[in-house]
């Protein structure tokens, strides 16, 4: 069974894949927006925490999304 962190990364990846047809940049933007709209603060925090966790390498696009989520949290 996946850990919660793995699951969040998986979820973000799945959302990304569904937006992939728009092109990578648009997909990352749409996924970020989706996460901001639907994920609870705990999940977002956990996702951001994974950015600094070196162990499970996040796929690049997921990392890009989480970075934007983090930036958004910082600006809020």
């Amino acid at each position: 069974m996946m850990s919660t962190g793995e699951r969040l990364a998986y979820m973000a990846g799945q959302i990304l894949r569904n937006f992939a047809v728009k092109g990578q940049e648009a997909a990352i933007a749409a996924t970020t927006d989706h996460i901001l709209q639907f994920w609870d603060p705990g999940m977002k925090a956990r996702a951001c925490a994974m950015l600094s966790d070196p162990d499970p390498a996040l796929p690049d696009d997921v990392r890009a999304v989480f970075l934007r989520v983090q930036a958004n949290a910082a600006s809020a």
Binding site: T4, Q37, G42, M43
Partner: protein, 951 residues
């Protein structure tokens, strides 16, 4: 309301230009086509009748309703004779009295005479008419040939057929044909020997009968009568209320003696069901009085302990203090709740209010998460509103109907009957479903196309249909230009036009011949091939419960927009909602990101409205979804949950994951009628009340808000909304509701789409469809009439992203799941009724080819294994499923089909992917080890410690 039969006009309502005539000297104006009988009834002239009833087309067999018409020879039957202008009709003359008495004399010469001890005594049309024609003596005597020796058929658990009481009016046969559409009844023989026969003159239970009750309702005597009436006598009052089973939202008259429910009879004025019902709503209400109901609150420190019955005060205080303790210890967001789609709008509103106002977070979710959350997302994105576009009446104007991932004759039977009626009238049908559902081919109904696609490939198929529609020039361009976002359309059209989206390119992927996909697309796009034809799409959980659920909903919306099939009757995108109030629970703000009326929690203006009303600040961040709550629980950050009327352990996917999450919590509060499976992991059990025991409203799949009316006191002491208020007040919220109508007033005050809704309006109109406000003072049967709610309809590119659940050598088969007519969801209600007679266990449907490969015979126990788990059930070998696909229902906890289902879910809403699981099937000896241990755990967990005897 005291008991009277609903007024019966004898023949169905007609719509036409007004015709004036004279009946017994009285001037009457009625629509052309109206029968004389109905015209008379409209001015309260009751022409005697036996074979006529206004739910059925006129038949003209009993010959009681003869009248005289000036200038016409003979004595025409008023039921079969339409009015004509300036007709002069007499309904009572010496000659007519004599003829009627003559016919009645014949009836009574072949009828039992024990009226006083008859179960229909006082509610028998034969008795009434015999009285009204003044029959005093039967000159033929009582010793001629007769049918008095006929044996009763008591095979159906809910009603009895006594052929001796039958007058062969064929109302039952016609009700089965015209209303239900099962055609399970016929007349056997002819002439004097005519008798009613179920299927091949067999018992009702063994016959094709689906026990909808239409025949019983139609019967003018006690030949077909509810067993409860035989047992209890005729009712003395009736209260109109709404069924608590599926999302069709049938209204019923609960016919009562005192506080005792005698029978539920579908209400003819009900706008969702128009007097029809199914076996569940009509008969399967015995669970409400079932001995398994828990009536006292119970508490325990640990789920290993037996339950301890406590007072309501103690239970409520315990809940409040536990929740506050947990929040103090683990944070505001460490608790949450689940609203119930079984409960009323007012109750769900209060639960989410408890969470938002009292818990101070947005950790509220509902069972719609696991069924129609993609509908909310998909239709909101494309059209602007998270709801179906039509009323059910709309189907009567559809020329082609596309049913995808739904099985209406089982899941939404009353709508299924209305759909079948339309199909019998000639509308065309397309079915997209891996399994050959009954609609594909059943008496007098046959789909033009059945596309038995591979489970999980909906998006690919729908996109291929879009490909055909766009590349073959079938788009309603004027509509798209006027009503939709042009840029998005352009992108979408370019996307679907790519050769890779063509039916030919995906033929192997979806397993459906390209020619069929093309033909079906053309049929839908051309309105059934009829000029100006209208196409309607109805869908169910076979659309939503996929990892691409939201994409599929949007793909459906795209098709409807491209063909101009949104915004008028006979068209639309219509989700068939699973539970009685799943639409309502979503409307009421049960999702963690939305306040009531589908407004995002981040919207500060909306929040401000609620904050002002509720006197507290609200969290602007979305809360946790159910599955995320369980994840968080496993992680140790989520510790307490209030679950009202939902059995997440049985109904949510990957049971072991759910169990682990629940087990990790410190306070699980379950409110339910029964000790359900989830309660095995609960620390507090609060007894729930049934829909018969409370006031409120349900909102059905057509956005129709209907009253639920209390017909008896709650056996557990409180209606559910009262219990929520007790909890809220124990947490210091100071609520003061004394009636659910006040809750509705609050909803209307805070939710623009409900602004015009209140109990007075519902009382007057029977029901209303939201949006109901200043802009739509009559409510809204059809949405998006002039423009989409979001402005321009938005085409969304829906790329087919395959699920990560894949078949392979270890799990070569695809499991998909569904329901059956006689059972309802996890079966908590229906399993506690005689409905078990029809479906006592879940079976695994498997194609003969796959069965043979595995050495499985029909009825064998088989193990069903997936990456998530294993269970056992008995096999049913059938070619309803394609090779490579297996199917089961999930009504029985012993089966635990959700042990098998995985964690995969819809990308946008996390609606679980119930419909696609890679599995292996093998012969087995019986229940699996897991099933046995689960059963033992459940038994252990359900123990209740006897209360201390009072001193």
């Amino acid at each position: 309301m005291t008991f009277t039969r609903e007024k019966d006009f004898g023949t169905p309502e007609k719509h036409g230009e007004t015709v004036s005539l004279t009946i017994d000297g009285q001037q009457v104006s009625v629509p052309a086509g109206t029968s004389i009988m109905r015209a008379a009834a409209m001015v309260d002239t009751a022409i005697p009748k036996l074979c006529a009833t206004d739910s059925l087309e006129s038949f003209g067999s009993c010959r009681m309703c003869l009248v005289e018409i000036e200038g016409r020879k003979g004595y025409p039957a008023s039921c079969t004779t339409p009015v004509s202008p300036d007709m002069v009709v007499r309904t009572e003359t010496e000659k007519l009295r004599k003829l009627r008495r003559g016919v009645m004399e014949l009836y009574i010469s072949d009828h039992p005479l024990d009226c006083l001890t008859c179960s229909a005594n006082g509610d028998c049309e034969l008795q009434d008419v015999a009285g009204s024609v003044g029959l005093r003596d039967v000159r033929f005597g009582y010793e001629g040939a007769s049918h008095l020796e006929g044996c009763k058929d008591e095979s159906n658990p809910y009603f009895t057929f006594d052929p001796a009481k039958c007058i062969v009016c064929s109302r039952c046969v016609r009700a089965c044909d015209e209303v239900q559409g099962t055609l399970a009844l016929t007349v056997d023989g002819r002439g004097f020997a005519s008798k009613i026969s179920a299927s091949q003159d067999e018992g009702f239970l063994a016959s094709e009968c689906v026990s909808c009750g239409a025949c019983v309702q139609a019967c003018p005597t006690s030949a077909l009568i509810e067993n409860t009436v035989i047992e209890k006598g005729t009712p003395e009052r009736a209260v109109v209320t709404t069924c608590a089973y599926c999302g069709v939202g049938c209204t019923f008259r609960a016919e009562m003696r005192g506080e005792d429910l005698v029978r539920m009879v579908p209400w003819k004025q009900g706008k969702a069901n128009h007097g029809h019902s199914c076996v569940k709503g009509r008969f399967a209400w015995g669970y409400a009085q079932h001995r398994d109901r828990v009536l006292n609150p119970m508490v325990r420190a640990s789920v290993d302990e037996p339950w301890r019955e406590v007072s309501w005060d103690e239970a409520i205080a315990h809940v409040a203090s536990e929740f506050r303790r947990i929040q103090n210890a683990y944070g505001t967001r460490a608790i949450g709740g689940v609203t119930s789609s079984r409960c009323t709008n007012e109750e769900t509103f209060l639960v989410q209010k408890l969470i938002r106002q009292g818990f101070g977070n947005n950790n509220v979710d509902t069972c719609a998460r696991v069924c129609h959350s993609p509908t909310g997302y998909g239709l909101k994105t494309t059209f602007g509103t998270s709801a179906g576009t039509q009323d059910f009446d709309s189907v009567e104007q559809a020329d082609v109907v596309l049913v995808i991932g739904a099985n209406p004759t089982d899941g939404h039977p009353v709508f299924g009957s209305r759909l079948k009626k339309r199909l019998r009238q000639g509308a065309k049908l397309i079915v997209i479903d891996p399994r050959r559902i009954d609609l594909v081919r059943s008496p007098h109904v046959e789909a033009g196309y059945h596309l038995p696609l591979r489970p999980g490939t909906n998006v690919a198929l729908l996109t291929a249909m879009a490909h055909v529609i766009v590349t073959e020039g079938l788009v309603d361009e004027a509509y798209v230009r006027e009503r939709c976002d042009g840029e998005a359309y352009g992108e979408w059209a370019a996307f679907v036009s790519e050769p890779a989206r063509s039916p030919e390119a995906i033929e192997d992927l979806i397993g459906v011949p390209a020619a069929d996909v093309r033909a079906a697309a053309r049929l839908y796009a051309t309105g059934g091939g009829k000029s100006g034809g209208r196409g309607a799409i109805y869908y169910g959980l076979g659309v939503t419960e996929h990892s691409q659920g939201s994409s599929t909903v949007m793909a459906i919306a795209n098709l409807a927009m491209a063909t101009g099939n949104v915004g008028k009757p006979g068209t639309g995108v219509n989700p068939l909602r699973g539970q009685n109030n799943v639409q309502g629970s979503c409307d009421m703000g049960s999702f963690p990101h939305e306040l009531p009326g589908y407004r995002h929690v981040s919207d500060s203006a909306t929040r401000a409205l609620f904050e002002a009303d509720w006197g507290t600040a609200l969290d602007a961040e979305p809360g946790l979804r159910i599955n995320n709550m369980l994840d968080a629980a496993t992680d140790g950050t989520f510790k307490g949950i209030f679950i009202q009327g939902e059995d997440i352990l049985q109904s949510d996917p990957n049971t072991t994951h759910v169990a682990a999450g629940l087990a990790a919590m410190e306070c699980v509060v379950v409110q339910d009628l029964f000790l359900n499976e989830t309660a095995n992991y609960a620390h507090v059990f609060l007894p729930g009340s049934t829909f018969l025991e409370k006031d409120g409203t349900f909102t059905n799949a057509e956005r129709r808000i209907q009253r639920v009316r209390k017909v008896m006191e709650p056996k557990n002491g409180y209606a559910d909304w009262e219990v929520v208020q007790l909890v809220a007040n124990a947490m210091g919220l100071g609520w003061t509701y004394t009636h659910p109508s006040q809750v509705m007033d609050e909803i209307a005050r805070l939710t623009p789409t409900f602004a015009g809704v209140n109990y007075d309006v519902l009382e007057q109109r029977g029901s209303v469809q939201w949006p109901m406000n200043a802009a739509a003072p009559e409510g809204t049967p059809t949405m998006h009439i002039d423009h989409f709610v979001r402005g321009k309809g938005l085409f969304v590119v829906t790329d087919y992203v395959p699920t990560d659940e894949r078949t392979g050598p270890r799990f070569p088969l695809l499991l998909t799941t569904g329901r059956i007519l006689s059972q309802y969801n996890v079966g908590a209600q229906t399993r506690r009724t005689p409905n078990e007679a029809w479906h006592a266990e879940d079976r695994l449907e498997i194609h003969p080819h796959d069965a043979e490969n595995r050495g499985i015979r029909d009825g064998d126990w088989v193990s069903l294994r997936s990456r998530a788990g294993e269970t056992s059930l008995r096999a049913l070998i059938t070619d309803r499923v394609a090779p490579g696909v297996v199917y089961t229902t999930f009504h029985h906890p012993d089966t635990q089909a959700n042990v098998i289902t995985t964690d995969f879910s819809d990308w946008a809403t996390n609606c679980p992917e119930y419909k696609v699981t890679a599995v292996q099937v093998a012969p087995s000896n019986g229940p699996s080890e897991w099933q046995k241990s689960y059963r033992a755990q459940a038994e252990q967990s359900r123990r209740i410690e006897p209360a201390e005897p009072a001193e």
